[in-house]
């Protein structure tokens, strides 16, 4: 055990746990993978914060990223939009920090005042990954605070979109919980006060009966007027639009129950149904709460604004000035520093551009651009600063104009859910039964007419029906959740069960961005591989890291005369051999148009050996998935890439006409629309911003990501890449979920029939209603959760 610890601390970074490739960062006998990690460790130990490393073994995240420029945080308009509260002395700001992931993070970020005395308080909301900081204005400003956070490895993600909408959902959830509390409080009290009547009162206790009745009635007032208000509002608005939804029989039931109870209590003819009424509203609200419970820590509504910077640096007559993104105009000259995102389409004027479009396309290999070339918004500059001239304002760019499309303006039209359709017929049948019972008794025994009419409406109040959907779907949601498939809301489950057409994006969706394998073309001996590996070890470039990982040999030789041309290649003397790695221009080779994306050419002692090419790897289980899905559904592919992988993909799709390459974001959206016009229910799998339009337009858009906290475009569901092969199981589970809803409908209808049998005869007693209603509710809750779990076992999801 001890031995294991020793080896792990030797080869892994003490701060972040990454493999140590270059052994040159040591401090206090601890090894670090990079200077970033070492700096964080230094800062923390200097301030007596080394407890950070006590609570968790490897609490840090790798620090290789270059810290961004935060000059824009000194612009007043930007600051005023970001802070929650500001007065002369203090400022409160809430920042989203994606790196928060363990208890050490909480501990460190809540002890910020030890690092900077100007910070008065910092509080973390772990699930939302937010930290709320209160600081003194005269000691520290927002920019310094953010820089401090960056220096200890917690760079906040600052964007307007996520910050603007916060707080809204919290308010509605709070009001729902308050309503539940009121209903529960009244329900409990009413139940206690009703028991004496149910058990029968002795003669001398009769005097209490009126007292209890009046108390019950007063308890029912807040339940009907406050907690149950929404049912009346919803039923009324739907009725005005000539629709009968499930809220109509519910509202009718509540109203009738209240009126009849009030009549009975005031006229002293009975105890009324106050108990059932309060219970009904209480259970209904709980069902509603189950339905509205969502994942606060995952955002499904993101668009480009969450990922574009808040501000950009402009250059005007040689003066650098940060301006808000919305103030950016055509013709402005902007400066994009290393690792900044280009916010608008622009022409490259100065510098070497190496752009990573992974946000946009999912493609992780950077693309090189030459002077005068147009670079589309959304790319991240990797090497050095570049200067550009803006061609189009932010909202009109090639990528962002997608959001002006109708698909984003209108909210998705959901097809009617099963309970919507069922409740229409239910309401009509219910009214018919109630009326015919009333009419029948008018002709035979008029005294019973009103009683039977109201009894039918009371007992048939579809409480269990209304609960079956939310409870089933919430159970399905939590099963999916355990399998790292996160749905935006419960209605997505029913949508999933109906899908018959699947559209896939290629890069990053069906290929695994983290497992891009390399392949060597040419002949090479093992010793030469060793030389290449030792040379590549010195470079921090993405491809060099991949190369070292791919060759997988321990370091033997050190490199002399090492040179690196950023974005072009590296060279050096390894064990007496002069090795050159890089692009064809770097090696002065005749330009070959390599068909399959990026390649790394190798030259040893001025002899050309061959080249490495990047080979995309399909995600785990891709073949099996396509095989299973193709049995009953239509499969399509929409890729923004060139078609050099067409041949490899054809076997997976039954028809080569369903493979489409070089698709622009708008093309993807239009293609989905075309499919929908043919009457298909389309599910879109995507991962980048360029799929946003298609994800939004499709009946169900699923974003695939390898890190739930990383970027994912606006969608209905987010799927972790690791669960990619489980898609058929998820679909089966969704179908089974709908089956469970139908079965529970039948069960609740059976309860209703039993109740109706007594109600139409005018024999329904308050006690019977008080037993039947909770009993049916509890049956439904139990049945749905057990059935969903059983199906989940069958589908191997639990």
């Amino acid at each position: 055990m001890l031995k294991e610890n020793v080896t792990s601390s030797e080869t892994h970074c003490f701060h972040c746990g990454e493999d140590i490739i270059v052994r040159q960062y040591t401090h206090n006998d601890k090894q670090f993978c990079c200077s970033g990690c070492k700096t964080v460790y230094n800062i923390l130990t200097e301030h007596n914060l080394s407890n950070y490393y006590v609570y968790n073994k490897i609490p840090g995240k790798t620090q290789s990223k270059i810290t961004s420029n935060f000059d824009y945080l000194e612009v007043t308009q930007v600051v005023s939009k970001l802070v929650d509260f500001e007065d002369q002395f203090r400022t409160i700001v809430t920042l989203y920090i994606p790196a928060i992931h363990c208890s050490s993070c909480i501990w460190l970020l809540e002890h910020l005042h030890l690092l900077q005395s100007g910070i008065l308080q910092s509080r973390i909301d772990f699930l939302k990954k937010q930290v709320s900081v209160t600081f003194k204005n005269d000691e520290i400003n927002l920019k310094q605070l953010v820089q401090l956070l960056c220096s200890i490895g917690y760079e906040p993600l600052i964007s307007f979109q996520d910050i603007v909408k916060k707080g809204q959902s919290r308010k509605t959830e709070r009001s729902l919980i308050t309503k539940i509390a009121v209903a529960g409080f009244c329900f409990g009290n009413v139940m206690l006060l009703s028991f004496p009547d149910y058990f029968g009162l002795g003669d001398f206790e009769r005097e209490f009966k009126d007292f209890f009745g009046w108390l019950n009635l007063s308890f029912s007032l807040p339940v009907v007027l406050y907690s149950g208000k929404e049912y009346f509002v919803s039923a009324w608005t739907n009725l005005k639009a000539k629709r009968l939804n499930l809220d109509f029989p519910l509202a009718l039931g509540i109203l009738v129950m209240f009126l009849r109870s009030a009549y009975e209590i005031i006229s002293q003819t009975g105890a009324g149904f106050v108990d059932t009424l309060c219970g009904l509203v209480f259970f209904l609200l709980i069902g509603k709460w189950m339905q509205e419970r969502t994942f606060h820590h995952i955002s499904f509504e993101r668009d480009y604004r969450s990922y574009f910077p808040v501000a950009v640096t402009t250059i005007n007559h040689g003066v650098e000035r940060p301006i808000q993104l919305s103030d950016l105009k055509t013709g402005d000259r902007i400066l994009i520093r290393s690792h900044e995102i280009l916010p608008a389409d622009a022409i490259l004027l100065k510098g070497e551009a190496e752009i990573d479009f992974s946000f946009v396309t999912g493609e992780s290999i950077p693309v090189k651009k030459t002077l005068g070339e147009i670079i589309y918004a959304g790319g991240r500059q990797l090497s050095g600063s570049i200067e550009m001239e803006v061609l189009k304002p932010v909202s009109q760019s090639y990528l962002t104009q997608l959001w002006n499309n109708n698909a984003f303006i209108e909210s998705k039209k959901r097809i009617k859910t099963f309970s919507d359709t069922a409740s229409r017929y239910f309401s009509i049948i219910l009214l018919i039964i109630a009326l015919s019972a009333g009419i029948f008794w008018i002709s035979t025994d008029p005294s019973k007419a009103l009683a039977s009419f109201t009894s039918v409406l009371i007992i048939a109040c579809p409480c269990a029906l209304a609960l079956s959907s939310p409870f089933t779907l919430a159970a399905v949601l939590s099963v999916f959740d355990k399998n790292r498939f996160f749905l935006k809301n419960t209605s997505v489950v029913e949508e999933l069960a109906r899908i018959n057409t699947y559209v896939f994006d290629k890069t990053g969706t069906i290929t695994n961005p983290n497992a891009a394998g390399l392949q060597f073309n040419g002949t090479i001996i093992d010793g030469q591989m060793q030389l290449i590996s030792d040379l590549a070890r010195n470079s921090g470039h993405l491809l060099s890291r991949e190369l070292t990982k791919f060759i997988h040999k321990p370091a033997i030789y050190s490199v002399q005369e090492y040179t690196e041309k950023i974005g072009r290649g590296i060279s050096g003397k390894v064990n007496g051999n002069y090795v050159k790695l890089g692009s064809s221009t770097f090696l002065n080779l005749p330009l070959k148009s390599s068909s399959s994306g990026s390649s790394i050419h190798v030259m040893i002692n001025d002899v050309y050996v061959g080249f490495f090419t990047i080979r995309q790897q399909w995600r785990n289980g891709f073949k099996e998935l396509m095989l299973k899905l193709s049995i009953e559904a239509d499969l399509h592919l929409l890729s923004g890439d060139h078609d050099h992988e067409r041949k490899q993909l054809i076997p997976f799709f039954e028809d080569s006409r369903k493979l489409h390459f070089e698709q622009s974001p708008q093309d993807k959206l239009d293609y989905i629309q075309q499919l929908q016009k043919e009457g298909k229910k389309v599910l879109m799998f995507g991962d980048g911003l360029n799929d946003s339009g298609a994800l939004k337009q499709s009946d169900l858009g699923i974003a695939i990501t390898d890190n739930i906290n990383n970027f994912s475009p606006g969608c209905d569901a987010i799927l972790d890449g690791l669960s990619f092969h489980k898609i058929p199981q998820f679909i089966q589970q969704a179908k089974d979920g709908v089956k469970v809803i139908r079965m529970s409908f039948i069960i609740s209808l059976m309860y209703n029939t039993v109740g109706l049998y007594f109600a139409v005869q005018g024999l329904l007693s308050p006690l019977m209603a008080a037993i039947l209603m909770p009993l049916s509710t509890i049956t439904i809750i139990l049945f749905t959760s057990v059935a969903v779990r059983l199906f989940a076992h069958k589908n191997k999801l639990l």
């Binding site: 007596n48 208890s103 909480i106 909301d125 699930l127 919980i177 009121v182 009290n189």
Partner: protein, 60 residues
């Protein structure tokens, strides 16, 4: 038996107090984050930790 009126009144009053307390809890946002406080409470207080160390040494 008139005592019952008083007792019921008291019990409802008490229950109302709890309901009001719950309203206050909701309004003050104590339920907005149900995860972090559970972790936070496990952290040792810096100063307290040192004191414990000293007292441990005293014993040995």
């Amino acid at each position: 038996m008139n005592m019952i009126y008083l007792l019921i009144g008291c019990s409802i009053l008490l229950a109302l107090l709890f309901l009001l307390a719950f309203f206050w809890v909701i309004k003050s946002g104590q339920n907005d984050d149900t995860f972090t406080p559970a972790v936070r409470i496990l952290f040792d207080d810096e100063v307290a930790e040192k004191e414990i160390e000293i007292s441990d040494e005293d014993h040995t």
